[in-house]
Symmetry: D2
Subunit: 288 residues, 4 copies
């Protein structure tokens, strides 16, 4: 699985083998048509790191809402169900989806971290300071057939944004010119069609008109917030006693989770495209 | 219905009564528990305006993709299923949803048009030039209980973005600090909890942690692209002949659809909140 | 629409034109790819017939449960959302589905009424006595490709029974040998395969193995209970006062709703088949 | 888990420990609100038993349709995804659902096997003859609140039948008087309401009117076909060569799978009831 690509470039001090254990749906090296179950075991758990989370919620983290929503029964260790670790399932599904959608390709990459292109420098500084930092990622989807997307309610932007906002830490998404569109005039924003196949001279639409692919490259960007768990001392509140408190989050935390996100965005995109190709009846039979 | 609020401030030359015709689900002025069907008739149609769309796709519009996806059988008049007019259904559903979610309130408003706060001036200029212009809208949801949202796959951001990207012309969405988060450090982005109810000193998270409401105001912004239909002459291609062509879109078009979007965002938000309250079993019985 | 086929053979004293009013999704006589909305208006309403239903529930009818479930706000006139009239929507959808699934054919017919093959006699007797009577219907689906059905949870029996039990008055469904299977030995029940295409010598399985079509005719039967609304005097309770009461239901009621059900079963079957063909990517492109 | 209840009374020569391995969603002996993953490992596999299934489909079994649907890539060992073993997942979910729906109770039991009440005798005879035999099961659901069920499309009969037909071997389902209803008159079939709580003197409706529970006991019966795998010699076809063949299925097979089904029906019912209680907002908070 490709998930490690991100962390190879990353700064994590965690050791997670991410070895997939396929429990169902594969036989003699081929998928059988039955549901595929893949389990990844956590082999390097240090749960004692997280005992504080029962009373003192980490600022910016899901500790507090999980405690409230689940009546105190949530698993507070390692973020439990809110851990970024859960994205390994998306990545695993994406490995399969990428094979299904060929020759459609997905490529995501970091544009900036902490607002800077000098990514290594910014991340190292955050590590030194016991802080964390956000990042901006772009994703391109190429060789896209015309006609994918099911508006009114299931535009391709709706489907991609739905799955992308499942990834912990994402706080924004924009397609094509995105937020810049709000500042533009129609005569500038409109992509001019230059041939009968629908190729356009610009791509302000991000390859999508009316929620449907137009055959040009799909282009979107996602904003990743900085990791909430930092060793730098922060003020917070003990929600049992109501008393103000200070917190320095121990344990092994990524200084920049954005480094891990490109491969997840690729996976998420491939999953959406596979679904839409199936609706359009464009999955080749030989694969099935 | 409140939909006219937008266009009262707007610039449209259309006359659309938007009179709701309730066909089912209401009896003696009350909902019955049966599905509610509301029909809005188009009473002011001038379909001849759109005959060009069969061969010459409007740049930036869904004409081309609709023609390709539906094998030429799409209804090209007035944008058909891709018309902004279809949002009247969302607004109607929102009127009901707003009653259900009380005391939760939704409020959306224009922040800027064409990048400027002087909205009237920018829109008038676009009208004069036969052009159009995009806009930025912010939406606030207040009195939100803690614990709404169903991650992993149905975070509240996933659900809101899904429905928001169903609205024609939306090209970006961001929650809380949004795209700015990508430039921030954790020690700055983390909202400090200041009391045992989870109130925070800042709201960079937009009222959401881990995909679940934290009790603070939900805050998001959406970018609306400029209307694609403009009377200003644009280059395009005749997709039957492949020849280059010029197009000036006649007919009655909004110079700034963003003016109409706030009430739609309020409706969309209320619909999502109503669903999540039902999942959390928090819809008061007296209403049901 | 074919819905009148049933009542032409039937005994109803109702006059219902069932004229479809297509509001969306059709243009120049062809479907456009947009959702199709069809409205059937009730043109022959005599609501005063139903005023009793507010306090005195008809035995065997949904009056009581509707009142309880919807807190007294249900529309009690004509059965409201529980009227058999609502099946006209299924039939309309079925008209379209039947075109999509060609050359698959669906054929349903009455086997017996009140346990007798002399259907006319039994119905006439019920009419004379101010009573009603149930019936048994069989449905055959022919020219079925091998491989339709999505077990574990969406076996073709699951999907057909789900929609069939949406039809008011259905109390049982069985596939192939059905309830007789419970009395049989495997050596008798097993259908012997007689050629490499999977043709079988018998059809105890009703054309389905493991929830998936085997290429033989799909065969199922559905039991329809007698209409609950009868003019014959019945004992019941006034649920406001708790007092025992007697009731003779006035108004125009079918003595045997089973007469109307065959065309609905055909429609329901066609809808399920259309969905499954789409999942299997077997809907011809020319139709789309 | 209670699944063994069936087989304790049964005749299987299989040894399957059915030990649940809970991978997620439980912490400190309580559910956390995160999805629950339970894995049951097959510890007693003798796959060589099933090699014949690649070419010679067992009459009445899913071998043939699986081969066709999945292009020959299906896992033919032990029936793969079509094995009755997969119902262990339903039973496990049912254990949880039964706790959620309290004080609603579910009870299912065998009525007859091979058409006889002398169940032991009939099963023993089938074992001796290398044959198998079907059975009839009844399920009662007690302490049911009024108002569960979501017609038009999600009547409680629709939901129960949908999940029940997911259980391998089920060929029919009927509610209340069921198929007998088709032979009855309304004046006989209608259950008379005897108090203001809706209690009825008879229960021909099986506790359901208009697809909604009426507060009386829910009652349904399901027909289970005889196991298709029998050691008795059967005629079939080699689907590679088209030649007629004979088959005696070796391996360990239940002579009467109906013995195992009661606990599965209880589980399936409890799952449906839990869903409907949640829709009606009637799951007690203390549990959540």
């Amino acid at each position: 699985l490709e998930r490690r690509k991100g962390s190879q470039r990353g700064t994590t001090s965690r050791k997670e083998a991410d070895k997939p254990n396929i429990l169902s749906g594969v036989f003699d090296g081929k998928t059988t048509g039955a549901p595929i179950t893949i389990v990844f075991e956590n082999t390097n758990i240090q749960s004692k790191d997280y005992n504080f989370a029962k009373e003192i919620p980490r600022p910016g983290h899901a500790d507090f809402v999980a405690m409230k929503k689940f009546g105190g029964f949530n698993d507070y260790r390692g973020g439990g169900h809110f851990s970024g670790r859960l994205t390994v399932g998306l990545v695993a599904a994406g490995v399969i989806a990428k094979k299904i959608i060929k020759p459609i390709g997905t490529e995501a990459y970091l544009i900036s971290v902490g607002g800077s292109k000098d990514i290594e420098k910014v991340v190292n500084k955050a590590v030194e300071e016991g802080d964390s930092v956000g990042g901006l990622i772009e994703c391109k989807i190429s060789n896209v057939p015309i006609g994918l997307g099911e508006p009114f309610f299931n535009s391709i932007e709706s489907l991609i944004s739905h799955i992308v906002f499942s990834i912990p830490g994402i706080k924004g998404i924009e397609f094509g010119a995105g937020f810049k569109s709000a500042e533009m005039q129609g005569s500038v924003h409109n992509d001019l069609v230059v041939d009968a196949d629908g190729k356009t001279s610009t791509n302000n639409a991000g390859g999508i008109n009316g929620g449907i692919t137009n055959g040009n490259e799909i282009l979107f960007r996602a904003a990743v917030k900085p990791t909430s768990s930092i060793s730098k001392v922060q003020k917070t509140v003990n929600i049992k006693t109501g008393e103000l408190s200070e917190l320095s989050v121990k344990g092994r935390h990524d200084a920049c989770i954005a480094l891990r996100v490109p491969v997840i965005l690729e996976a998420a995109s491939a999953i959406v495209l596979a679904d839409l190709l199936l609706i359009e009846q464009k999955i080749p039979k030989v694969m099935r």
